[in-house]
Symmetry: D2
Subunit: 345 residues, 4 copies
């Protein structure tokens, strides 16, 4: 018997990607989809690519919870808590792809999202989960806070170095670049083709809302509070994030030691590949899959560790990781439905 899945916000990019990935999941099936903008329309009218594969009609959010064992929510921030509450009360599992459950500290949420919690009691049941780093915190009743795309690429990239105390916690610089699907399906001048093509620039410089989420994970890794400088850029490709991260190596730390720690950390992780010395992570090698590639580089002249981490922002950075989390809370192998070879081109 398959897990019944409802997707709320199914016509956004993350929601649509969950639909695509679940189509080949052997133990789950999409039983309902909802959308505010396209209620009453088939998903394949919004995405003609899906014609014949998912022609489900978008329903009202109020109709879908009862049809599911687990609800994925891909909603703007501020809209997930009420839905989480409904799911919790009805005994449905809830996986939130939005930001409402990601921050452990309500003050951080208030500061960055200008809003308080609607259902504070639910937050004790929620777990922020990049499985490779935090799966031990999850149990079968957890509400899952599915991490943001930038924080996923960054946390996987810096966690081992901070956990082992290889680098200074001050002065970490993170320069990230994201494909345009990261900006969503909504129209804007910035993502209008002639404005976006053959263009490149940072945005929300040192002001992006993923900053506290990044710091939360890295502080856990370092076992002390830390702050980072984080600058995202808009990259003229459809998919993928590359994060280039800079941290000062502590005195005496060797290259071999760092490689060994990363290899050890991820040796049993099917979705993380620590590249060999000399190789450089490239987003093209993870596209359309749940993989994260990490390469490690050492600037001996300035004693700096440079970590390059790359994921597909829509898969490991959103829909894929959400399914990985579903697998986790339902006791399935995490790779179920996600065992995909990245296309070579």
């Amino acid at each position: 018997m398959k897990i019944k899945v409802a997707i709320v916000g199914a016509t956004g990019y993350a929601g649509a990607e969950i639909v695509r990935l679940l189509y080949n999941h052997p133990n789950a099936e999409v039983t309902a989809v909802s959308s505010v903008s396209f209620e009453g329309k088939q998903l394949s009218e919004v995405y003609p690519a899906y014609k014949g594969f998912c022609d489900k009609v978008c329903e009202n959010q109020s109709e879908v919870v009862d049809k599911a064992d687990v609800v994925f929510a891909a909603l703007p921030h501020g809209l997930s808590e009420a839905l989480a509450k409904e799911c919790d009360e009805k005994g449905k599992r809830f996986i939130d792809l939005g930001a409402d459950f990601r921050l452990e500290c309500e003050e951080d949420y208030q500061q960055w999202y200008e809003k308080s919690y609607d259902c504070p009691e639910l937050h004790s049941k929620s777990v922020y989960c990049i499985p490779e780093l935090f799966r031990q915190n999850v149990n079968k009743d957890s509400i899952i806070a599915n991490p943001g795309c930038y924080p996923t690429s960054i946390s996987l990239g810096l966690y081992p170095a901070l956990e082992k105390g290889f680098v200074e916690t001050e002065g970490i610089v993170i320069d990230s670049k994201s494909g345009v699907t990261g900006a969503g399906r909504g129209l804007s001048q910035t993502t209008h083709y002639p404005d976006c093509n053959e263009a490149f620039s940072p945005y929300k410089v040192a002001q992006h809302r993923h900053t506290p989420e990044i710091e939360q994970s890295l502080s856990h890794a370092a076992n002390e509070p830390l702050k980072v400088t984080f600058v995202p850029h808009l990259l003229p490709v459809n998919r993928g994030i590359v994060s280039t991260m800079y941290a000062r190596l502590k005195s005496g730390v060797t290259e071999d030691e760092v490689f060994a720690a990363y290899n050890k950390k991820y040796e049993n992780e099917p979705f993380v590949r620590v590249l060999k010395k000399g190789a450089v992570a490239n987003l093209k090698n993870v596209k359309y899959t749940n993989m994260c590639d990490i390469s490690l580089h050492f600037d001996k002249r300035t004693n700096t560790l440079i970590v390059v981490s790359t994921i597909d922002n829509m898969v490991k950075g959103a829909a894929g990781q959400a399914i990985q989390n579903m697998n986790l809370i339902f006791g399935l192998p995490e790779t179920t439905g996600l065992d995909l070879v990245p296309p070579a081109f």
Copy 2:
């Protein structure tokens, strides 16, 4: 027990794509790969995307046949016949992604490829097979001539109209546009990024070697010999072909009649979608899959039928169709391993 597959020419784009697609095939496994340029190297050294998924070492062509039940050959023209002979003698199935077995008439081959057949006797065992059109010609001993990318998009698009006699056989114009993977992995100035990006032009105008292959299939459809004007263009995208085809409607043929014939022809074909009136085929809706989308348009002012057909040149136009053909000759459902949802972005 899985079908054992060897891929000759595995480091070319078509060969590499077969490897990717077969990874998720439940009834087949890659047992050997060969490459002239990269003998002794792991496939994942050539394509780092495959690290951990296919780390097989490229062998010499002479070593791989014995390890397989079926051999896929992705070779430059002129090199497949000898290999086909070896396979035939050893009782191995052979699927050729090159041009050597595609043309039924040796004179055509001589004219367009400037070469005679090396093993004429094999050609009686070979079948040119777009399964949706020609599967009835195949039996379990057939050598498969896997069709070219342009001919696949074009034949699927025009076959029903010609078969039904809806259009004149003279004056057919075919304007095709292909993504850059169609030019292969080899370097050239034309496919150097700054030359190819933000550029567009036709090439081999009315001289492309796929012309006789197109005419062969369309002549079968029309049940009379016909010639077409065929102009391919290089499109600045990685994958996909769009063929826009123009044919004069015979007097009295109605729009409804044409739609009905196309819908009937393909109603049980899982890989062909005839779009509804008003919709337009777009390559983005078939990428990374074995699908072919066809849209039909009528210029009543000039009495012209316009058919737009789109495929992924590397999947339905090469590797995917080859696997579909393998499924066919091994008695598996044709969709086995190929039941993939096109990504929405």
Copy 3:
């Protein structure tokens, strides 16, 4: 003393491109710009590229005519006639980049634009002018109907063959591909980066409003009314149009004859290059300039003339040709301000 230029609709792509090109025009200067959407804003706020080069504040349309000797209008169809009338009454020259004055026959305009003329009397003073083909029709009092982008590429490409009677006037097929700036600055799902990048398809198949304008010019060339099949496609590049055109050669017409006629027609035209036999026109060779490249190809198997014509849709297809027309009516060399080398990359 410089020609004073006002641009109405200066924040659209065509208007903005006129501003850019006129900056280096030795005999003209922009004295006023207007915009409905951005009234009161500097043009360089809308286009930061122009900071320091054109910081003029966008005014109301009603304010700009008096500040100019010539008014360029880049407006949606239906809005130009009133402005043309005002200019005419005030003795100002008027160059319309929209469609209102392009069609000689009001019935065509009614049919394709669903609107009648507001000022029929003005149409006797207006001249549709691709200078290379129609400059003889213009005098210093003419209202200029600046041609559409597709019609410019097509008319320059087919005119000589039709004028000389080399090809049949029936059955002409025109398959055009345009960069995304052709769709304008306005947002739409089709031109949203992730929808448009790595995508390709035709649009408005056999229904594009440029069709009657194309037929008007080609009928003049052939000296008889003709109809064409015209299908435009959206090309994932910023700029440029390639039109691939197919016409049946009349019996006995030779390749040399055709080349000779094209070379003769354009031998003194600085903006048209007829490429040598064997070369193929590519949009990358005309980008950012007023050039039109034409290549000629012969499919002897089907007796078809294939003409490939390429322009920059925003320059020769809009702003550049408008300035060329301004030069023409003000008695300046047509190349003034437009003598630009296409970038090699």
Copy 4:
């Protein structure tokens, strides 16, 4: 009387761009071009874009010096000194777009380029010149070392902050992204379209040869030796560099102070635009011109100054700056021939 210009290495991207820009220079003309690979061919055969604009035949390097007042050399490193010597002896001016004269310290050159100086005596006559920063060092007899593309974007971006002592000289991180023309016209797998399109990664991480050149200029600015961490990335666009630079602000330095210093430094510089608070530099706003856009950002949470600097790598990063330097040594206004509006799209 115009300055006679010879370009050695004219078929490389930088050389070809000089040709394009000089075409509209009122006081200079190209009198000779040379190329090793294309000797005897017209430049317009190599770059069909130039047909009719520059059809000069590529000569042997030995033939061009005598035809010129100034020689631009766009050669691989190690080949410029001999040519510089010849020019010097013949009283010709010499502008080197390669690396041979850029480093003031021969040990640095030996370390990074694995080669000693061939003509050490010439180096006392050579001046490394980003005109906005170093024009005071140049006189009419100087051999010009035209700066590299990355160093130009970086030096313009960080110079004022270091000169004023606003930031710490330790721990500076520079994350740069360059369009693909930066890799040159030569073919490589990395720049093969399907490998490069929809891809992104750093390269030569902390090992790029521009590092000592960057440090040289920034050390001058700071008036003390400093080292930086520099990581370049390959960006899937044709043109443009964006450098995102991170430096720790010294205690007490205010945002206003920094803006004021940058505005003051560049207030009379026609090619540098310091953007207003809140604006972000984007490469699309400088493309095809000699402009450099700089935006300033403050991460108050970590006390970090973030400078974003963008140029067109082929213009301000190569050919345009070389012409600016030519103007400088010939006593012309630096903007001569370079007063170009960046296209809005």
